[in-house]
């Protein structure tokens, strides 16, 4: 009897718990409704206003402006700058200048040979050929010098990011406490748009190369740190135990087992750091990075699509080559060494170095250090002609389908404007309430609180309206992204052929820096909010498609098989088995889509997207750092809010932009 009761008691418990779980969403909403019913009349009576009440804003422009002025006045005299920031700044300048001079001294032939040989050593012949071709293409497009500027900045920034990230990752990987402290910071840093990092460094270092490098380092180091920590923590427990059982010291365990076991993650971290560094090095042109990004930036400012494309193509080529080379290095680890096919170890590298030097010297004696002007192919004019033709023929008036500019105009009028006006017309407390409800439904009360506080902070900063403008663009872009992304993702998951066709396209798109996406949309849609949204959609789509496809494909085969065996149609299988089981992946796709879209919508400020992104650019251009900083802070808050609202429980390790 007693035994029976102990058996039934837990069963009853679980069923009650089950009922609770099922009703938890409802419970949360009810609780929220009660809280809202009490609070809203009070706040409405006190600060009745559609937009964020003026009484609740804190104007930071004054103090921020003063701080900025103080820093500018004291940059050359205050000890903090003289002995700390000054040294950092000088060191960065010297490093970048040094690398740049080496690259110039090697000449185009030397650099191209070095790139090809490095790719050959770490990734094989195919990539070596691709790398050589890519660098030659940079020269052909007349972009050799800017490419070298960007490369010099990248090399310094990547080295610094890798060192910084590895040190942080090592600390977090070996100490639980450091990990707990560091992880939320790194997680949050990874969801913030690149633009948010620009202004604080500009405030301290002023516009120039040091600010650009440091912004890049801050942006690019987190993935290295995260993946280092992850790799060290995930070391196979069985191997670590075996190593301990043989009497290894702590140092031996780290050096001979834990680090080597983590090498795949370390290389993935390197890959992501390089990609993020490239992305940021290009964006940082708005704070004086120079190089390719600057060319694109200048060209976009004058809507010179041809020039922008000439600078954009080298960026894409660099991105693809860097990504493939580091990825191939990662894949080759642990795989069998094809003995005798390649020169091994040091001797191979020695040969590579010798060939590089020989080629560089040969070019020097031949008097061909600089890329010969006669070899430059000018693509700007033909491209601009093509764009002009498009402008006159495709922008509007195409029979039946209208034109691209018409589409953009309609999208703005029928989608963006109503959403923006709706958001801005909503009472401010209603916006907070919606944010709270969404965040609480998907997460815990903590996520809800973070999200609401982040949203409220935007109001307090006094940028409620532009933030909602940005938000409206994000929402519209996310909606479009998800509709297209899920549709294509499902198609790719159900058809091998579609996936095979898509894969190379997605591979290239996922490696391109955000900035580059602005070029084609300007060509197609001109400037405005719609092009910004279009760029965001195109940028976020690959990740959403890929996560959706993978999520659907990884659905438990046994579940699918049993559904099939019961005679479910393929539609039923999709709706009743695949989609429900792939729910975590779909939620992750939403989260990623939102984060990526926000990043590009902000950058869209450069092509007439307005709102927060424009404030940042305006602040930088006018030296009005206060405006820019407030907008930057609002971007951080918006990013935090959007991430929390869409982030289900635990975030996974992901391959971000």
């Amino acid at each position: 009897m007693a035994a029976a009761s102990t058996v039934t008691a837990p069963a009853a418990d679980t069923s009650r718990l089950g009922a609770l779980v099922r009703n938890r969403a409802l419970g949360k909403l009810l609780l929220l409704a009660v809280v809202a019913a009490v609070l809203i009349p009070i706040v409405n009576a006190k600060w009745a206003s559609g937009s964020w009440p003026h009484a609740l804003t804190v104007d930071l422009t004054g103090p921020l402006g003063k701080t900025s002025d103080w820093i500018i006045d004291n940059r050359d005299s205050h000890p903090l700058f003289l002995y700390f920031f000054g040294h950092i700044s000088n060191a960065v300048v010297i490093c970048v200048r040094g690398v740049y001079l080496v690259l110039l001294a090697a000449g185009w032939a030397g650099v191209t040979a070095a790139a090809g040989l490095i790719a050959w050593r770490v990734a094989g012949l195919k990539l070596a050929a691709a790398a050589t071709a890519a660098f030659l293409a940079c020269g052909l497009l007349g972009m050799w010098v800017p490419t070298m500027q960007t490369l010099a900045l990248m090399i310094v920034a990547v080295l610094a990011s890798v060192v910084l990230g590895a040190v942080l990752g090592l600390a977090a990987g070996l100490s639980d406490r450091t990990n707990r402290a560091l992880r939320p910071v790194l997680d949050t840093m990874q969801v913030l748009p690149a633009f948010a990092y620009l202004l604080p460094v500009v405030l301290v270092f002023g516009i120039g190369v040091p600010a650009a490098v440091l912004a890049t380092v801050v942006y690019a180091a987190p993935p290295m740190a995260r993946l280092t920590a992850l790799g060290l923590r995930e070391a196979d427990g069985g191997v670590m135990e075996a190593v301990a059982s043989l009497g290894a010291t702590a140092r031996q365990r780290l050096l001979t087992a834990r680090l080597p076991l983590a090498r795949k993650q370390l290389l993935l971290g390197l890959n992501q750091t390089i990609m993020m560094a490239l992305s940021m090095a290009v964006i940082a042109s708005v704070i004086g990075a120079g190089g390719l990004g600057d060319r694109v930036y200048q060209a976009l400012a004058s809507v010179d699509v041809g020039a922008a494309l000439a600078a954009g193509i080298p960026i894409v080529l660099l991105a693809v080559i860097l990504d493939r080379t580091t990825a191939a290095a990662g894949e080759r680890l642990g795989a069998a060494e094809p003995d005798g096919r390649r020169l091994h170890g040091l001797s191979g590298w020695g040969v590579a170095a010798l060939v590089t030097i020989a080629v560089a010297l040969a070019a020097r004696f031949a008097g061909r250090i600089d890329w010969p002007d006669t070899w430059i192919v000018n693509i700007a004019d033909p491209v601009n002609n093509a764009v002009d033709w498009m402008t006159s023929h495709l922008y509007s008036g195409v029979p039946y389908i209208g034109g691209t500019a018409d589409w953009a105009g309609h999208f703005t009028t029928w989608v963006l404007d109503p959403v923006r006006d709706g958001l801005q017309g909503m009472p401010w407390w209603a916006v907070l309430l919606v944010v709270a409800a969404l965040a609480w439904l998907i997460g815990t009360w903590r996520t809800a609180l973070t999200a609401v506080l982040a949203m409220a902070a935007i109001g307090v900063l006094g940028v409620w309206k532009p933030s909602l403008d940005t938000l409206s663009q994000v929402l519209a872009a996310v909606a479009v992204t998800l509709v297209i992304g899920f549709a294509v993702g499902i198609a790719a998951a159900r058809s091998e052929r579609v996936e095979l066709l898509l894969r190379p396209v997605l591979d290239v798109f996922q490696t391109m820096p955000q900035f580059v996406y602005l070029i084609p949309v300007v060509a197609l849609f001109g400037v405005g909010r719609a092009p910004a949204v279009a760029a965001a959609v195109v940028y976020a789509l690959p990740a959403v498609i890929r996560i959706t496809t993978q999520g659907l494909r990884q659905v438990n085969g046994a579940a699918m098989e049993s559904a099939r065996s019961m005679g479910a149609t393929s539609g039923q299988q999709l709706r009743q088995v695949q989609l429900p089981l792939a729910r975590p992946a779909l939620l992750l796709a939403v989260n990623q889509g939102v984060v990526l879209v926000l990043a590009v919508v902000i950058i869209g400020g450069l092509v007439g997207g307005g709102a927060l992104g424009y404030d940042v650019v305006f602040g930088l251009a006018q030296g009005d750092l206060a405006t820019g900083l407030v907008a930057g802070a609002a971007i951080v808050c918006l990013g935090l809010m959007l991430d929390r609202v869409t982030q289900p429980t635990e975030r996974r390790a992901k391959k971000g932009a």
């Binding site: 191997v239 075996a242 301990a244 043989l246 009497g247 001979t256 076991l261 642990g334």
Partner: protein, 409 residues
Amino acid sequence: MSTTVEKAREEGAHTDAPVFSVRNLWKVFGPKADRVPGDAELAGLSAAELRTRTGCTAAVRDVSFDVRKGEVFVVMGLSGSGKSTLVRCLTRLIEPTSGGISIEGEDVLGMDKGRLRALRRHRAAMVFQHFGLLPHRTVLDNVAYGLEIQGMGRAERRAKAAAVVEKVGLEGLEQRRPGQLSGGQQQRVGLARALAVDPEVLLFDEPFSALDPLIRRDMQEEVIRLHREEGRTMVFITHDLTEALRLGDRIALMRDGKIVQLGTPEEIVGSPADDYVREFVRDVPREQVMTVRRAMRPADADEVGRGPAVAPGATVSEAIEAVARTGFAVRVMDDGRCLGVVDHARLLGVVAGTGAGSGVEAGSGTDSESGAGAASEAGAGASASASAGSGDAGSDAVADVTPPGEEVA
């Protein structure tokens, strides 16, 4: 009398102190685990009760045993019985909660970091269920890893490792990576890595559970061969009864962290200590484990001079074959003396599992005889001697191989 003879023989074979001597060992996981072993009330609780009362799990409960030099000591139990925790406690990969462990008289729990490291480096090496190989190293470097840890030079350790690689039958695969090997080959690498440091004792933690049955059999034979060639002491953890019976000189059967029976394979199968053990060994082919010594009865006058002869250590299945071939009862002969006979009824009794009791009674009659026989029998090993006689003498033998404080429940 038999016990003194037994002891003399034991001492003759194993003059040294036990390799491992474990006394009243406890390992409790959970909050404030220290209080459980000392508290008589908590210590007496069942696993489930202990969990609800304290939130603790006692993986190893008051375990004592000795591992003698040169024997294969098997710890067997189902998953969750605490056997893997137990073997990890031996080299303090898991820190025991209380109790005592000594290796050749030296206190393991009192060792400082350096001494413990020396113990792990030179004296006890372990083979793991999931191999625990370093994926980025070649087979040769994996095998040499233990030597590298010790600080041995590259050329020397590689030469040693190459010799061991050959010994476990992996020659030709030295430059492969673990990922390119089959499971059985990987475990050979694990075995070679443990052998390379030339330890006094090899610890095996379910080394063959992850392997296919045929490969598992190969590997078991490999271990038997190594043991025969080198005579190295082995502690072998397994959940597979067949494996335990095949490899073990002695078997400790664990349940819920306790040792429920410790004895030779024949004792475990022939005289299960309780219903749990009986249930456990029910399906064992008894004729392959039991020896004729245990099944025989005193010979009649006319039986002494007739029928096929077998040694006392022969298995019942061998006797069955002889009986079937000749039609006569088998004589158990030792040094030209007839210790007893085994006829159809006895053999069937063993196979059916009904004959053990009668075997015990009959055995007591030939007690002194068989004891003397065992004393003069050099090669039969501990299993035959410890089970000699059975019955009262048998339980004596069990008590003899069971260290003080150990309860054969």
